[in-house]
Symmetry: D2
Subunit: 451 residues, 4 copies
């Protein structure tokens, strides 16, 4: 059990309810299924819970008192309306939250999250989603993420916090088959009762028992499965050094240096265990860092030499990452469902290094060339982990495999609950919200004065 136990009471007989309990006592994680809805070509999936999710990770933006306050409001709402839920927080956050609530909350070392968390809600911006994903970066199965943007807006975090009750319910009930009453005008029914738009208590705690009332998969929450990139960093002797990628900020300081995953594998002809791959949601970056000179990086595609890049750095981005750093570096905007891997140079010392969009299955290797004068370059993943690496280091990257495994469970990708059109009784699986984000957030093709 987690050392926090010593800090916070876990005694069941505690007079004050707002204790911080250890996640270790909670049941194991429930994983949902993702179905392709009939009659749609959008590529969005529908979320199907086999039984109601119970262990919920709540992640506010760090350093934002307002996000903490809203997280507390949200937690109170969940606790009162869905009393069977277990609300889980990262250790630093748990400390901030538990004083604001009078019911027990849970925490543990984030390395235990992959075993326990059924669903994640973030209250912040894109950075908070990236932080959430980074807790699962060494695992092939990431829980669905319901992301509220907060104060600032975000490209990945689409839901407005004001919609939190409806949004939560949609994600929570998804696939349950429980009828959902009109979600758009709850307050017209009971003017001031906070619970008016919520399911009955007993239904909420066991919606799986009412299959007769099913409204079909079209009522399910829409999932955009975001592709990730698998990364392995190898030292000049060919040893995997993924474990050296350490958190870039204090906020990530609890991240395990390395953690074993079920799919840890053994290299052929050796007994050594290969550390698990790290998965990037946005990108892998190799950069000159504080070094004043140009970085020199050899790039290989499927083990064929492509080019020697002389640049500030090289980005290998997922389609999701195409609107992040890659965009700033001049890359195209790639829809998240285009199965691709982007190579975008940062300040290349060449007039002719155009960004590349490759099949997601391409194996890309970046090698720190021996020509680098100052010896060390910076590697980082989603801006969340980083390390310095010497000449001869190789970064091997390829798209993560995604889909159902032979045992019927789902592997791969980051499932994000997409904001529906809010029409109430129907969910439009053709709208993935991407066009809205281009125009509303990226100010795509913002018109200029005309005469």
């Amino acid at each position: 059990t987690y050392p926090l136990r010593r800090l916070y009471s876990t005694a069941t007989g505690s007079p004050r309810a707002a204790e911080i309990r250890d996640v270790v006592h909670l049941p194991r994680r429930i994983t949902p299924k993702y179905r392709e809805p009939p009659m749609t070509t959008s590529g969005l999936l529908s979320l199907q819970w086999p039984t109601p999710p119970r262990n919920i990770l709540l992640m506010p933006k760090l350093g934002s008192p307002q996000a903490i306050r809203s997280t507390i409001d949200f937690a109170k709402h969940l606790q009162s309306t869905y009393p069977d839920l277990n609300l889980i927080f990262e250790p630093r956050v748990a400390q901030m939250v538990h004083e604001g609530v009078n019911f027990p909350i849970y925490t543990c070392d984030p390395s235990l999250f992959p075993d326990k968390i059924d669903m994640i809600t973030t209250l912040g911006g894109d950075g908070t989603i990236l932080r959430a994903a980074s807790h699962f970066s060494m695992y092939s199965s990431v829980p669905p993420i319901l992301a509220f943007n907060f104060g600032t807006i975000g490209f990945l975090a689409e839901w407005k916090f004001e919609e939190y009750k409806r949004a939560w319910r949609e994600a929570y009930m998804s696939g349950s088959g429980v009828p959902v009453r009109d979600l758009l005008t709850p307050h017209t029914r009971v003017a001031s009762g906070e619970k008016s738009d919520e399911p009955d208590h007993d239904t909420a705690s066991g919606w799986h028992s009412s299959p007769g009332k099913s409204m079909g998969p079209s009522r399910a929450a829409k999932i955009l499965l975001r592709h990730r990139l698998k990364v392995g960093v190898y030292d000049p002797n060919g040893e995997n050094i993924n474990s050296q990628l350490s958190p870039t900020t204090r906020s990530q300081a609890h991240l395990p240096a390395s953690s074993p995953e079920e799919d840890t594998n053994t290299t052929p002809g050796s007994r050594k265990t290969v550390p698990p791959a790290i998965h990037a949601l946005n990108e892998i970056l190799i950069h000159r860092g504080p070094n004043p000179h140009l970085a020199i990086i050899d790039i290989y595609l499927n083990n064929r030499f492509l080019t020697e890049a002389v640049a500030d750095g090289i980005l290998l981005s997922s389609p999701t990452g195409s609107t992040a750093y890659s965009l700033s570096a001049g890359g195209s905007i790639v829809h998240p469902l285009v199965k691709s891997l982007l190579i975008t140079p940062i300040c290349p010392r060449s007039l002719s290094f155009r960004p590349l969009v490759l099949p997601l299955s391409t194996k890309v290797t970046l090698r720190v060339s021996n020509k680098n004068r100052d010896g060390e370059l910076e590697v980082s993943i989603d801006g969340k982990r980083s390390t310095s690496v010497p000449v001869g280091t190789e970064i091997r990257v390829e798209g993560e495999n995604v889909g159902e495994t032979s045992d019927g469970s789902w592997r791969g990708g980051v499932p994000c609950v997409i904001c529906g059109p809010g029409k109430g009784d129907t969910t439009d699986f053709d709208d993935d919200g991407w066009v809205g984000g281009l125009n509303g957030l990226l100010m795509f093709n913002y018109p200029i004065g005309r005469g």
Copy 2:
């Protein structure tokens, strides 16, 4: 039968062999299958002829005497080594070729090609391949193209003409199961005999009868199936006006104004036949043309308004087209196997119109805005067909479907025979030649002086 019959003798008793015959008498087309080779993730397919191809279209670059001369050499080689082949040429080309050969050749109106041609070889550059593809732009099934670059080099036309004997044989024998002797060092066996590296005469004419000697699919020619875009142009009343897209040059003047295809379909609730879609291999362009003012175009994605583009023009490109016009306009380089559709603006009057890479299945509509001052814009396809269109015109585009149909035949895409690594006895399905093209042709990341 084709009017050329009147120009050229088709009498079987003609004393001079070099007559021009009408393609109409040739047998119907043979269509190959395309198989995914086991153990490869490259996405390349293997070419599988059920029976040997017979009707071969030979297309030299137009206006190049040297290309004509080499086409004649190539024709002579085919005629002497594979005497069962029927060599077909476009009418204008047939006239130029038939004086150089002393055996019968074939021609017809290009609108008959889709019924007859088993395989195409081009001798020119990328423009010649585009011309070849344009003969099939209204059909869902395009014969395999074996493309020799010539004089100038090309990105799509990869084979060096010097390799023509080996290249042809590889494509012709592909999937036959006939053993192929060492292809790399033929001249070591018989120093000077031109035919030394050719199959025995009787084998060549009936390779399908020797299944016992099969060397398996790994010996087959590699096929890169290039995606096309389906285009429908609609006038302000919603009528399809594809037939107005006429050839841009004299060389294309034989192209049918419109031609019915099997998949001609009927709009629901009407009796009207919709003209067949036109397929673009590189791109659809809408442009201000000779008009001095900016074009104004509304863009919709899956029927949702994306943006009003104010620009010289808009390109909708296939991944193949990403290295053509789109590249010049600032688009990213997209690997041909990334299933995508590119929107690249040409000289947009906006600082923030970044090129987009969308799923190939996206339905894109370009609408000529009523705001266009001068009323008419230019639409063109692969630089080969074009027309002027008034305000209110809509161009509807989406990726062509590709794959096996229920009856086992193949539909969609332009199958291009890819140059192998030339290792002799094995064909490497992992190498699609793309990296070579980037470096050798596009001068990708060409190094600049360093100090």
Copy 3:
């Protein structure tokens, strides 16, 4: 005298005042001086009229009824407040305006404008300013332009039409030495009187007689002198064919095919007169036009071969033009006072053709390469004049010389009256309004969502 005389009465005894008179009877043009104000490094000049301007050209945007209406309002205001002014219009405009006013107005063939016009006001957008400048494109001296933007906004046309009274007065009085009462709060003095902020009638008509009240040059209108490019187009025999550059639109149809200017010069060793250079305010463009193939253009700098451009076209832009077509083609934004000439390619078929910024004095030659397949390319100037040119044609361009000539008169550039900060009693010569235009019109660095 101009043929319009026959259409419209010019009889002085006409009972109805709204006749259209011929400009030929008006006095010759008055040219102002441009002074560098002390204590400023902005590069802006101050406008100094030796005597009040009298012959004013009023140019509304064509095709805009609203612009015509406002032009009539403006004309009435000028007529009633500054009765000594002669209001001049282009022929087509004169016809539209004279029905709205009951006083005489003037017109003539625009080729006479350079002899007569003291000052220009435009009511439209950037296109209207370009039209104004094109009337003077064969002359080295352009009258000051006071440009109101209208309905739509413009980068060059900075003044809001609502400010027209104050703006006019500032430009008209500039350098007069007549005291100008508080311009910012006129309505506080006389709440509703339209004339309250105008000079006394007699002062206005003869301000040059009141030198004692001078407030010094700091009260003068600010002038941004925009650089132009001098263009000569030469056929393959070396003959100047500037006269073939004809108007692109009906609205310019009155432009002289060619017109002699005082600085017409004789080529050494010959008797032939060289037609006058044409001056571009934005850019010279050479483009493939309706031709579907890439244009091939050889570029020389100071008679040294720079490169062979294979592209849609090449732009040679002034710094003013850097925010026009060049911007759309990917060029940098260059401040109008940076003495430079820009070479910006349009869709170059090269990864490494970066836009160039050269000294304004560079002699650039564009030569239509013999390699052009289709023979003809399109040349155009400011989108206002254009012609087709065959292979071998040369376009020779260099920056126009600007400054005081030995006889004290000013030559070169397009003097634009810049909008002041409106602080009332002082004109800030440090503000050239450029930053405002970047942010307000070009949406420069428009912020995107952050999280």
Copy 4:
């Protein structure tokens, strides 16, 4: 006197000649004049020595044994042919060189260079020139630089080392009026004598005494005067902290933390001395450095707020710097004689931050916004000096003034000896070598495959 005196013998009676002497004993610096040659518009100047230069700084590329060896060869040549010269080296270099030569050489703390050095020769690449310039970055007068490229090629270092004898002589004799015999074919006169192409000994040592033989300024070495940017870094309290900009590499470790210059000035109303400005030859960079988050920087032009940049960093470049970092970041290529200052963003998180080209006289201020999460950004100059700065820091930049001062001496810019066309008897002042550099080094518009 310099502490090295204690390390190396300075005794005049030393038996071994190869001692390292202190520069302090050498005569004060001689400064040349720069004349605009008649009949040229290139903007190049001609170098005019009043008396022969004597104190020569020789700077090899660091870390390159070959550059050291060539420096020794060059030093021997100078010593034997021009015995009056004093050969000066940076301390670390002096140690490496003195073992290879048997004559005295000089060294001192580089902070003394500005008082003593008449001319600089570099043997390396662009980085070596930047190092040379950095020794003078706090001074307004930089000696002429004769730069040999070496091994690698460089954009700024144009001379091939093989040309060193002729190149040196051209620069040394420039403006002397001494007749220069055919420089191109010296070895045809005396086949093997190494000294054959050198001036007579006595002439060389006192060429200024032979004015009668003057061949006029056209024989003079061509000078490209490169513009610099003046930088002042101010802490949040408004105190100048230029002295904190410390060398980025060991090789620069001898650079003075701060050094007083003659033009040290006093802020109005205070007695405090303002440290001298630092001059950048390429650029000033402000960057996120090792910080994983976007930098936020407010930009002001002439004290007007332009924009809030959210980016990896911002470059303020000279036109010379336009082909350095700014080029990699997407900036245009600006000819070094266009008087301009470039603002180029590095990876801006905005679709609409286009690079800007401003008048060289623009006052640009970069302010580290309080919004920066991690507090510290990196400032660096020419990649040679850098420091971390907190929020509130201001970097104030403007173009350096250039020209003759009232006392006839020259101030400003970095005078670079430009490679002539090598025609022998005439120097072409119209060729500044820039076009050659674009094509030969930057691979500008490098052609790609065509078909």
